[in-house]
């Protein structure tokens, strides 16, 4: 099973990608997509050392919904800040202590932070314990850290590391 099909999730995602790329759905394309989804992970096996396991799919779906909503809000917030008075902004570097350990989870968290309200992740410390985040406008750094940990880190931890 694992020898012939090393990454079932990746295979499914690749099949989906193929169907989206050809932009039409037919049985032939589905079969071709499945073959590609089976062969590509097989040939690139050495690039994917760890197997991804999703523990709580529902939590993941809820997390994606929350992030999409936050992206919408982030755009409106940033647009308002840009059109307002940039001189009055109070940007800050904040340090987010990490509870996550795997590469994938930390990467997803850093990506999420970049996509959401007025924050860009800037640096992961070499001990992988702290993520340095630049906030566009914040009066309450501790509150922002707490929000990031509760809203994004907790679900990621539950999905990928529990």
């Amino acid at each position: 099973m694992s020898r012939l099909l090393p990454h079932p999730l990746l295979s499914l995602a690749l099949t989906g990608f193929w169907l989206l790329l050809v932009n039409q759905f037919s049985l032939g394309q589905l079969v071709l997509g499945l073959i590609l989804g089976w062969l590509i992970p097989l040939f690139t096996r050495s690039f994917w050392p760890e197997q991804v396991r999703i523990r709580h799919p529902l939590t993941l779906l809820r997390f994606i919904a929350v992030v999409l909503w936050d992206i919408l809000i982030a755009n409106l917030t940033v647009a308002r800040l840009i059109l307002g008075r940039p001189a009055k902004l109070s940007p800050a570097f904040i340090e987010v202590p990490l509870a996550l350990e795997t590469d994938l989870a930390i990467g997803l968290l850093a990506n999420t932070i970049c996509l959401t309200p007025g924050t860009v992740s800037a640096q992961l410390t070499s001990d992988r314990k702290t993520l340095l985040v630049h906030a566009l406008n914040t009066d309450d750094p501790e509150g922002l850290v707490a929000t990031i940990k509760r809203r994004y880190e907790a679900p990621l931890k539950e999905v990928f590391e529990s």
Partner: protein
């Protein structure tokens, strides 16, 4: 009716993309400027792509969904490039409005 929705989506998209680029001109330092293009443009390009998917699903032979792929790739690559730019800026110690944390946190070793 669909024409109106598509037009509104294109206008929203153009508006947000414009605000994103305006941020480059109006904001004061490198780090705050990073926020404009990475955020305002995700929604801008997002609504343009939704408009494109609607238009080509309406006029073309079938449902057009490969815009979803563009959105997905954009959401994966935009944060990564923002992160790398911020990292490079920290390394070069560019001028920042916000106080920059100590050297050992930033990871400069020179």
């Amino acid at each position: 009716m669909l024409d109106i929705i598509i037009s509104i989506l294109i206008l929203i998209g153009a508006g947000f993309t414009f605000v994103g680029s305006l941020g480059l001109a109006r904001l004061k330092d490198f780090y705050t400027r990073l926020h404009g293009p990475t955020k305002a443009t995700t929604l801008g390009v997002g609504s343009l792509l939704i408009a494109s998917a609607l238009y080509f699903s309406h006029t073309g032979p079938g449902i057009s969904l490969h815009e979803v792929l563009i959105t997905l790739f954009l959401f994966i690559t935009a944060p990564v490039s923002a992160h790398l730019l911020a990292k490079a800026a920290l390394h070069l110690r560019l001028h920042s409005q916000a106080p920059v944390p100590e050297e050992d946190k930033v990871g400069n070793r020179d």
